[in-house]
């Protein structure tokens, strides 16, 4: 049976048919290797559907591989020598077809060897380095090849949440929110990717001395114990910046906003205390202390209606308060005040407020192996366990975090970190290229330490020797940007929603925590229905409404004339009924649907 012609697609569009797809694919790939067509073009032939996909559009991720022909890599020792001498560049190698870029589609048809020793005749490509199968972020996890794959994912995820020295121009920047780690460090255990992207110049980690030990129950369930002394020496400290912004808008009719300290006559005046930090120009003074609800940018707007006639018929302009205040619960020092102009020529003010975020109970820390934890206790230095040589760990990690998660890389990094700190040199932990455990053990032995990283510890409180040895080492830890100071929220009473009169939701609105459907069911399950009633009526939107006995409809309560009467029959036989406001709203909505909800009153039992 004659084979059908193969469909040929360019960027997903069918452009024609070809009788010999294998030859066409081969020819096109050959042309790319001979630099006739661009290296960014990928050709993939799908045998089972008999389709050729040629892709040259944007948005495909490509990765470089060494071309292999007849089981021999095209890249030879001479090439490497030439590259070393600077006679050949990467671009040259690509143009000569020694290295080529594959996308996900073409990769499907490739057989890629991990190492040169593995090469057979069937192989089409060779990995430049086994670590190249990983993404930039993932390949920054040292000893990754010793970890569970899932932990690589966790570790990589948290790289993006780490606080560090992210940008050198942070003084000039006006991001709404930004963080800056104090005294970041180079990682003692590095990977080659870190060198390539220059992570040591924009570091985001600090090297912690870590002991794997329980500590009086303060580090159970993924909590960590931190040494107060270490925090006092600036461990994990950071600055948090928040920028407040305001524009001096111009309105039609020649009026405009004004940056100033609002006068007492301003509509919505916030009180003298709120404007304390402002200078004469209405902007907060640099390095002045501001706290929640205080004004950082004083601004007034023109009155909304032009002719506002005051007493005695005098037209007086009362400007409205439009200042920018510090967020509730936040405080800090004014770091910088920037005046600039918007596209319409309006003056824009940006005030950057800085505050310290010293590690506290509840803040989040993580190593590079997906071992995240929340601070469970900050222990005075004198209460920390110490080694025979007097070393106190910065952080105590619970041993239960290790066996089930199988993060051997974490342990190896601790060992390598310890060796590196003794050797005073960075150790390479690039995945698949890392140093052997034996080598690390040898290094530790050379410096008079036990090769297994174990050390004798003494309890800081009782001074007694801790039975058994404790695994200790130095490992890179990151402070993650989830902080208690930004999340803590509690309420006993506070604002309610207008429509339902139930408490508001969310931290910003000082909201309550919802006692939801499932929570209510648990109470019913226990038979605690009076408690449930208290939770959903008393603690929420309880009202007393007067209801007409005859019509069963909520009565009108005329407070001015001190009269209560039924809106339907006009009678005054109304009785107080306790109900949730949401129910009253339901009754109103039923009436809006033309349903007459009649309440039959009985005496309260």
């Amino acid at each position: 049976m004659a084979r059908e012609k193969a469909k040929v697609y360019i960027n997903g569009k069918l452009i024609g048919f070809h009788p010999n797809p294998e030859a066409l694919t081969k020819e096109l790939i050959e042309a790319r290797r001979n630099n006739i067509i661009d290296s960014q073009v990928n050709i993939a032939y799908h045998k089972h559907t008999n389709e050729i996909y040629i892709n040259c559009d944007s948005g495909r991720v490509q990765r470089p591989l060494i071309v292999v022909e007849n089981g021999k890599p095209k890249l030879t020792k001479e090439h490497i020598e030439k590259v070393k001498r600077g006679e050949l560049s990467w671009q040259d190698l690509v143009e000569q077809g020694i290295i080529e870029f594959l996308d996900a589609e073409e990769e499907e048809n490739a057989l890629i060897a991990e190492k040169e020793e593995d090469l057979t005749k069937e192989h089409t490509h060779l990995e430049i380095n086994p670590a190249a199968i990983l993404s930039i972020i993932t390949s920054m996890i040292p000893f990754l090849s010793h970890n569970l794959s899932g932990k690589a994912l966790h570790g990589a995820k948290m790289f993006k949440q780490a606080v560090g020295f992210g940008q050198a121009n942070f003084r000039m920047r006006t991001d709404t929110e930004s963080y800056l780690l104090h005294y970041p460090q180079k990682a003692l255990v590095k990977t080659r990717t870190m060198d390539l992207i220059g992570l040591d110049r924009r570091p985001q980690i600090q090297n912690f001395v870590v002991a794997i030990l329980p500590y009086y129950g303060f580090n159970t369930l993924d909590a960590v114990v931190i040494n107060k002394g270490a925090i006092d020496r600036c461990l994990g400290r950071l600055s948090y910046f928040r920028t407040y912004e305001s524009t001096q808008t111009r309105y039609p009719g020649g009026q405009k906003d004004k940056f100033e300290v609002p006068s007492e006559e301003t509509v919505g005046y916030l009180g003298e205390e709120a404007y304390k930090a402002l200078g004469e120009d209405g902007l907060a003074e640099v390095e002045s202390y501001v706290k929640g609800k205080q004004v950082v940018i004083g601004k007034t707007s023109p009155p909304r209606f032009l002719e506002e006639i005051a007493e005695f018929g005098v037209v007086r302009e009362r400007r409205r308060e439009a200042s920018v205040v510090v967020r509730k619960g936040m405080d800090g020092y004014v770091d910088r005040v920037i005046l600039t102009q918007g596209p319409q020529g309006d003056t824009i003010v940006k005030v950057k407020v800085r505050s310290d975020r010293i590690p506290e109970v509840g803040d989040k820390f993580s190593s590079r192996h997906g071992q995240k934890g929340v601070v469970g206790a900050i222990v005075p230095e004198e209460d920390m366990p110490f080694t025979a040589s007097g070393i106190k760990p910065d952080l105590i990690l619970n041993p239960h975090s290790i066996p089930s998660r199988m993060t051997i890389g974490h342990l190896l990094e601790m060992l390598a970190g310890k060796a590196a700190s003794m050797k005073a040199e960075q150790i390479d932990g690039t995945p698949f290229n890392d140093v052997d455990q034996e080598e690390l053990e040898k290094l530790l032995m050379q410096h008079g330490l036990r090769p297994d990283g174990m050390e004798t510890f003494y309890d800081g409180i009782s001074g007694r020797r801790i039975e058994g040895k404790v695994f200790t080492g130095v490992i890179a830890y990151r402070r993650l940007y989830h902080m208690v100071a930004h999340k803590i929220q509690a309420r006993a009473r506070g604002p309610v929603q207008i429509l339902t009169r139930q408490p508001t939701e969310g931290k910003e609105k000082e909201g309550g925590l919802r006692f939801g459907e499932m929570e209510g069911e648990t109470l019913i399950g226990h038979g605690a229905s009076l408690l449930l009633q208290e939770k959903i009526v008393e603690d929420s939107d309880k009202v007393i409404q007067y209801v007409c006995e005859k019509c069963g409809i909520v009565a009108v309560d005329d407070k001015i004339r001190n009269k209560k009467y039924c809106p339907v029959c006009g009678g005054s036989k109304v009785y107080p009924v306790e109900m949730s406001y949401a129910f009253k709203l339901l009754l109103d909505e039923l009436k809006a649907l033309c349903i007459y909800p009649k309440l039959n009153l009985v005496d309260k039992a």
Binding site: G520, E521, T522, I524, G525, H526, G527, A528, S529, L530, L531, L532, Q533, I536, V537, K542, E578, M579, S580, A582, F583, L586, L590, L593, I595, Y596, N600, A605
Partner: protein, 396 residues
């Protein structure tokens, strides 16, 4: 040990007598202890050779324990049952996500199956029967397999292809060799059965083919209808049974099927009608009555849950089964099922189709008795369970 056994075997009648005597003696202490526990108590008493004083104490302790585990008046048994099934159920959904990509996952087991039963769906997605055989067949593998083959539903279209020639007004039915081999059928028998289905026209047989010459006056549409009728003709088996497999279970041969038809299978004399069953609870309740349906619900739920290593107390399942069947037919916990039967308009409105229920009940001038859970939550009154149930009445 053997000697002891011999001893106990010697005079069982005598011991039974004393046990019976003891039971009668303490009868007034029994209270509300159920039969099973009552009997167990005396077995223990006998084994441990307790004195009468000790037996009295034992009964009192047992009564105390038993009363403690009883459902108390005003206890929210339904909510507790729902939570007891729901909580491990969420675990089940979470776990199936981990198995994503595994081939074994199907609606046949897991949370979807529980949902299917509880919702009272009329069609079970993976219907299957377990057919127990009568004494003659159950130890005879060959006969069991022959029977299993015999009940598979085979239609003409399953084993033959047809070619119509409208010009000559003929149709050619040709058996497909592989399909017949697959089903282990007899070619000649099948051909003759197809032949029986042909009502109009002359039939010629040529090897595996049947050639039908329709009368010339027959219209093309009628020819087509005739052919379709032949193709849909059931040649053998019970309608609905798609596949069968013979397995060995506790030393006897049992047939498992894909597809179900309980009524027709029970009529066959080869099966054991007392044990043969299906996993389609609706079908059981239709064929054997609602009480059988209730049992089937309990058993199917229990099977699905234990298969997934979830331990739920049987009494919760009994309650659910009672709720689903108390109307006399299986009604699911869906808006068209028992939810529609709720007398409270608020309870119906709170579940689904709020506005529709509100309008309907307003139209009929319904009265909200405020007896259920949701109704009282809406109004803001204490729910009538537990502490909310009791009321004090003043002495006159």
């Amino acid at each position: 040990m053997p000697r002891k056994n011999a001893e106990s075997k010697e005079k069982p009648s005598e011991k039974k007598k004393t046990k019976q005597a003891l039971k009668e003696k303490f009868a007034e202490l029994r209270g509300n202890l159920p039969e099973k526990i009552w009997n167990e108590l005396f077995e223990v008493a006998e084994r441990e050779k307790l004195s009468e004083e000790e037996i009295k104490k034992l009964i009192e302790e047992a009564k105390k324990e038993y009363e403690q585990v009883l459902v108390e008046p005003c206890e929210a048994a339904g909510i507790v049952a729902a939570q007891s099934l729901g909580e491990p159920g969420t675990q089940l959904t979470l776990r199936t996500k981990h198995y994503a990509g595994a081939l074994e996952v199907s609606v046949g087991s897991g949370i979807q199956r529980v949902e299917e039963i509880v919702d009272g769906r009329s069609k079970t997605k993976y219907a299957s029967m377990t057919i127990y055989l009568n004494d003659e067949l159950k130890h005879n593998k060959r006969k069991a397999e022959a029977f299993a083959r015999d009940i598979v539903d085979v239609r003409t279209e399953d084993i033959a292809r047809v070619k119509e020639d409208f010009k000559k007004k003929t149709a050619e039915i040709e058996l497909i060799e592989e399909r017949i081999a697959e089903r282990n059928l007899d070619k000649e028998v099948m051909l003759s059965k197809i032949r029986e289905a042909i009502k109009k026209g002359e039939v010629h047989k040529r090897r595996d083919k049947l050639i039908i010459q329709f009368p010339k006056e027959l219209s093309l549409l009628k020819i087509r209808n005739e052919v379709l009728k032949i193709m849909r003709k059931r040649l053998q088996g019970i309608s609905g049974i798609e596949k069968t497999i013979v397995t060995e279970e506790n030393g006897e041969y049992v047939i498992k099927t894909l597809g179900t038809n309980l009524k027709a299978v029970l009529k066959r004399k080869e099966v054991d009608p007392y044990r043969t069953t299906t996993n389609d609870v609706m079908e059981i309740s239709r064929v054997l009555g609602i009480e059988a349906g209730r049992r089937a619900i309990v058993e199917e739920l229990h099977k699905t849950l234990t298969e997934n290593r979830i331990k739920v107390d049987l009494r919760h399942l009994l309650l659910i089964a009672d709720l689903l069947t108390f109307t006399g037919e299986i009604r699911g916990t869906v808006r068209t099922g028992i939810m529609r039967l709720k007398q409270s308009p608020f309870a119906r409105a709170a579940f689904e189709e709020t506005v529709k229920h509100l309008f309907d009940s307003a139209l009929h001038g319904e009265r909200e008795p405020l007896q259920g859970v949701v109704e009282n939550l809406i109004v803001g009154l204490p729910v009538k369970v537990g502490t909310g149930r009791v009321e004090l009445i003043m002495k006159e």
